[in-house]
Amino acid sequence: MTVFPDPDHARDLYREMVRIRRFEERCVELYSASRIRGFLHLYIGEEAVAVGAMQSLSADDAVVATYREHGHALARGVPAASILAEMFGKLEGCSRGRGGSMHLFDRSRRFFGGNAIVAGGLPIAVGLALADKLRGEPRVTACFFGEGAVAEGEFHESMNLAALWELPVLFCCENNGYAMGTALGRSESETELTVKAAGYRMPAWSVDGMDVLATESATARAAEGVRAGGGPHFLEFRTYRFRAHSMYDPELYREKSEVEAWKLRDPIAAWRETLVAHDVMDEAAVAATDAEIAQEIDAAVAFADAGTLEPTEDLLRFVHTEPSS
């Protein structure tokens, strides 16, 4: 049984999830208004995973994510303003406007992206962890990826390397049931994903990804195992995306009723109810949080709006590292 956390922390978890939700809701509007372009993948519905998982990571640890990484970036502490400026293609963006929604980076927070090749980030996470192991640093590298990545060869090569070399990697599989339009059962002959980890002798367990306490405590336990020298761990978070795969997805592949059923398990609503039931928050506190977040996001939009476009004369900069940097 998970112990109910201290009230401040409980409220923080709530706030972080709502931040992600509101941020992305605003992104949708901004996309419709053509302020954001390219591909935009929303994390709405999955917030409990990134927020819960990130609690066990310290500043020294590293994070690798996918193209669906706004939530991870925000939960890792990348400022909403610099993320939004990035999506606006502004110089003030966390990747200078060169990356966009799929390529958020923040070196100062050891947030290594933002990778738009499915499973492409996993080997990199292995390498970050290898560096830590070689240096004897007690750090963890958390690597987030969707269940679709499990079919890719790179997933298997990475799992094996990490397990063989006993590297401090936390493999965080966000199983939202679909890879674009492909349900897990149509892409994997074995849909019980922890069985994959068993093929590498890697400790693994499935977690309710809609329950932020569950994601937090499972990750804490796994991270502890990793830090104790137990080698890599694999976590499957069972979750769901409430929105389409990207802004172009007509969602032909799933029933509205399925989406509605999962929405009843909305991690934010559920946690709010718990908090209210535990008298940790009341209506007013909820409203105050909402208002604070709205303000933060308004400020982020204003910041992004006021940002500058990189001059095209700088097009060739950073193909190679500049001598000064």
């Binding site: 060169r98 990778n115 990189e310 193909v319």
Partner: protein, 333 residues
């Protein structure tokens, strides 16, 4: 160009879908395999509706396993099926390159002519939609380096439809690159639906002063540049390569020998681009006919940036093409 054949107006996307449907109706050995081509309806909606019509055996959704299902396409082709493998975009095809380079392209030769790989691989290519460095590659010119495969780049609605049939009839692997910005373009599709030739380049605009050589996604830009140039009194010939491997060197040389000047335009990175190969071929076969050095307009050598003004600056644009032509006209004899 004017045509007397009856035609209907349709989009590049719909023409491609019609080509797939017709091929599947014609030949039971044809099937399509790729990520999200079925239940999702196709990442670019090219295969939309085909699952209902042909069922999941022949419109086969695959897991995310590019090397696996491209290799499976090779195997099925070896067994005399006619697979059309869709790699969602060229950006993911690196994961399947071992299968393409080391198996598809070599099996006929390595087996002394015993084996045939009648495989068609389709992929979306190109930049211009602010998708960033990992989703904006233009590598069709790079693929054209590989012996044993044919590389096609349909730029028109007629070619989008017409190239698939002959590609499937080819006993060897054929790669078809569809530029992402072309899917919504409308054009004329001949009602007769005859297959087109996949061996030759096509003159899309005849002219006398300079030859503009291009293909695929940059053809519309080059045609627009030719119009601008025409307004300025320059009569440019526009050659659409259509086939990047093997190159139709005759068509290139014939045109350049007549106009005596050329500019090659492609969306690949400049160094090692197919434009370099074309420039070298002209050097070798028409050096003495040239009045000026061949110009190249390619993409800047950068991972494609997201920000629009940077992406625009990185890609060939009409103004840059016009300027390059004017430069070629200014210099030389």
């Amino acid at each position: 160009m004017t045509t007397t054949t009856p035609a209907v107006r349709t989009t590049y996307r719909d023409a491609m879908r019609a080509a797939i449907r017709d091929a599947m109706q014609r030949d039971p050995r044809v099937f399509v395999m790729g990520e999200d081509i079925g239940a999702y309806g196709g990442c670019y909606a090219v295969t939309k509706g085909l699952l209902d019509e042909f069922g999941p055996d022949r419109i086969r959704d695959t897991p995310l396993s590019e090397s696996g299902f491209v290799g499976a396409g090779i195997g099925a082709a070896l067994a005399d099926m006619r697979p059309i493998v869709e790699i969602m975009t060229v950006n993911f095809s690196m994961l399947a390159l071992d299968q393409i380079l080391n198996n598809a392209a070599t099996l006929s030769y390595m087996s002394g002519g015993q084996l045939h790989v009648p495989l068609v691989i389709r992929m979306t290519t190109g930049a211009g939609r602010q998708l960033g460095a990992q989703h904006s590659h233009s590598l069709e010119g790079w693929y054209a380096h590989i012996p044993g495969i044919t590389v096609l780049a349909p730029a028109t609605v007629a070619d989008a439809y017409g190239m698939l049939g002959p590609a499937l009839d080819d006993p060897d692997p054929v790669l078809i690159f569809e530029h992402g910005t072309l899917y919504n373009v409308e054009g004329e599709l001949p009602v007769a639906r005859d297959p087109v030739d996949i061996a030759h380049a096509a003159i899309r605009r005849p002219g006398n002063d300079v030859t503009l050589i291009t293909y695929g996604g940059t053809l519309p830009k080059v045609l627009a540049a030719a119009e601008e140039l025409a307004a300025a009194g320059v009569d440019a010939e526009v050659l659409d390569l259509r086939v990047l491997r093997p190159l139709d060197a005759d068509a290139i040389i014939t045109s350049v020998a007549r106009t005596r000047r050329a500019v090659v335009v492609d969306e690949g990175w400049r160094s090692g681009s197919i434009s370099a190969e074309i420039s070298a071929r002209i050097m070798e076969a028409a050096f003495y006919e040239l009045d000026a050095p061949v110009g190249r307009v390619c993409s800047a050598e950068v991972p494609m940036p997201y920000a629009k003004q940077l992406e625009d600056a990185a890609l060939p644009q009409v103004a840059g093409i016009v300027a390059a032509v004017q430069e070629v006209l200014r210099t030389g004899g």
